[in-house]
């Protein structure tokens, strides 16, 4: 393992310190906790929080800021944050109008966020949540009942962030979130595995000429390994799977997110984007929003994912386009 780190057990702590140092105009560390909170004056609005295992940077700390998350909890690498950490994030984020938790669908995350919710409610803070399960690659997985939550989560952060900033109530945000997660779907592929620092070797190894469709952001198995294919072939597989799953119709309006998993250069992501553009045009899809880059990574995994969001409501597009002040949106 070659990594630019010190002691592997200190990686998350030192990373949080690094984030707080580099972005001290936007965020600060909640003292004594693995939580980053935004430097924005409280205004009595609903606070959004998210988090999960570390290793997916810039998610979620990179989306803390004005117009998006109030706080993010950074668990150990690929490990759910503990309830006490989540509870402190809830308490720090609360502005008196309730706290909304955006949770990726992993069994450990759900258990711990729900436990934190119970503890917070005992302290009189109103809490609600949504589970994001956008990954259509497989049903059930190593750490998940149902579908995994992956890159589409950042679109949930953005659209709900817009609603929270607009002063929507906790119940309005819950309703919006429940609608939204139905209309966001993701599928990915990996060219290599991710190396957790404390493990020291990749979670899986693919031969030099093979890749795998449908791998999860913690290296969970996908649905098919193949010899390496052209970008256009990869794009066709992912676009077809998504459009079929949506039962998309020509003329419908979608947003897209192409997400690098950590080690895949922008060069490749843009080549892939060009292939995706051609395919969506062939299907008569109106692409009303586009975003590309490394947003929900898997440490040093090579590969990417494609997310589509069906813009069922015009206000969702407005929410995606509204300016925010965060590290990474």
């Amino acid at each position: 393992m070659k990594k630019i780190i010190n002691n592997p057990v200190d990686v998350v702590n030192e990373m949080i310190e690094g984030i707080a140092f580099v972005h001290d105009d936007l965020v600060e560390r909640l003292e004594g906790y693995d939580v980053l909170v935004r430097k924005v004056a409280k205004a009595g609005k609903v606070a959004l929080i998210s988090g999960g295992g570390s290793g997916h940077e810039p998610a979620h700390a990179g989306f803390v800021g004005e117009g998006m998350l109030s706080a993010a909890i950074c668990g150990a690498v690929f490990t759910s944050p503990t309830p006490d950490q989540i509870l402190e994030a809830i308490k720090a984020a609360d502005e008196g109008a309730g706290v909304f938790m955006i949770i990726k669908n992993y069994s450990g995350d759900i258990m711990n966020f729900e436990m934190a919710q119970e503890l917070a409610e005992m302290e009189g803070i109103e809490v609600a949540s949504v589970i994001v399960d956008d990954d259509i690659a497989v049903e059930d997985s190593l750490y998940t009942q149902g579908r995994r939550g992956v890159a589409g989560t950042i679109l949930v952060h953005k659209i709900l962030g817009h609603a929270a900033r607009a002063g929507k109530s906790l119940s309005d945000i819950k309703e919006l979130a429940d609608d939204l997660v139905q209309e966001i779907k993701t599928i990915g592929l990996a060219l290599s595995g991710a190396t957790v620092p404390e493990v020291g070797k990749p979670g899986f190894v693919l031969p030099d000429d093979e890749f795998e469709y449908g791998v999860g952001i913690h290296g969970e198995p996908g649905y098919r390994k193949e010899k390496m294919q052209a970008s256009a072939t990869l794009a066709k597989e992912l676009v077809d799977k998504l459009l079929n799953n949506f039962e998309a119709q020509p003329g419908q309006s979608f947003g897209l997110l192409i997400n690098g998993l950590g080690a895949t250069p922008l060069m490749e992501q843009y080549v892939f984007a060009n292939d995706v553009a051609a395919l969506l045009a062939e299907h008569g899809i109106d692409v009303a929003y586009k975003k590309l880059g490394n947003y929900m990574t898997a440490i040093d995994m090579a590969g990417l994912s494609l997310t589509l969001i069906r813009l069922a409501d015009d206000r969702w597009l407005e929410a995606l386009n509204s300016p925010v002040k965060t590290v990474a949106w």
Copy 2:
């Protein structure tokens, strides 16, 4: 070689199409050329252009937009753009107040940008330029007389972009640029080589437990190979080299840029940032500006660079902080 591409000879063309598709709100392709121009109404101001070989994304196309570059020329991978392409960028960018070229110090780039300048001047367009040679790792290199131009170039884009937007004249911008490049220094390290798609294998290979200080962004040799070290040790080497080169004094004000070379996760970059912060504090340096991420990459190279800019003029800090509309700043 596993890459998400189609035919290797089409990579740059398809990447440019991808950039133009994803970011059609900000940039467009100059029809028939490997040039991206900003979608901003001309206002009779100095136009900034930059470019070079592809493979350094988001540089330089990601810095085209309101407040930064007017256009970027994308050469073949790791290969200077040709004079005809640069000439077209100059002509497309010109608003009648002259065009300023930001050139990284590589012999091929300088030759071709200067040839394009001569051609443009024959057509009546006033052109000036600066050579960025911020990499203090080595003197002379595979493609360079003197020092290489690397990640510090994006700080030049930003500060000159602010001046151009403010309506400064071509000669004022030239004077500012000449001052600026004296005060920007960079040094990096690599954990792995970069694979040019048309070559199909890495430019160099390091053993599993070795890294190299001072490698260039095209894989040019550095100055020392070692067994892998802790981040704090790497940070000390780079910080010491930079501060010595600056002859920095306690109390002086600097900005810093930590730049990932393509395959290095943000997790590692932030751990490294935390070590850099401690060292600069020990030296009594005032860190007035901070930026971190993948800005000047070397395709899929693992590694990073550290850039310091001595903020000799308060207006440089203001320029770094001024909001812009680009893909990647």
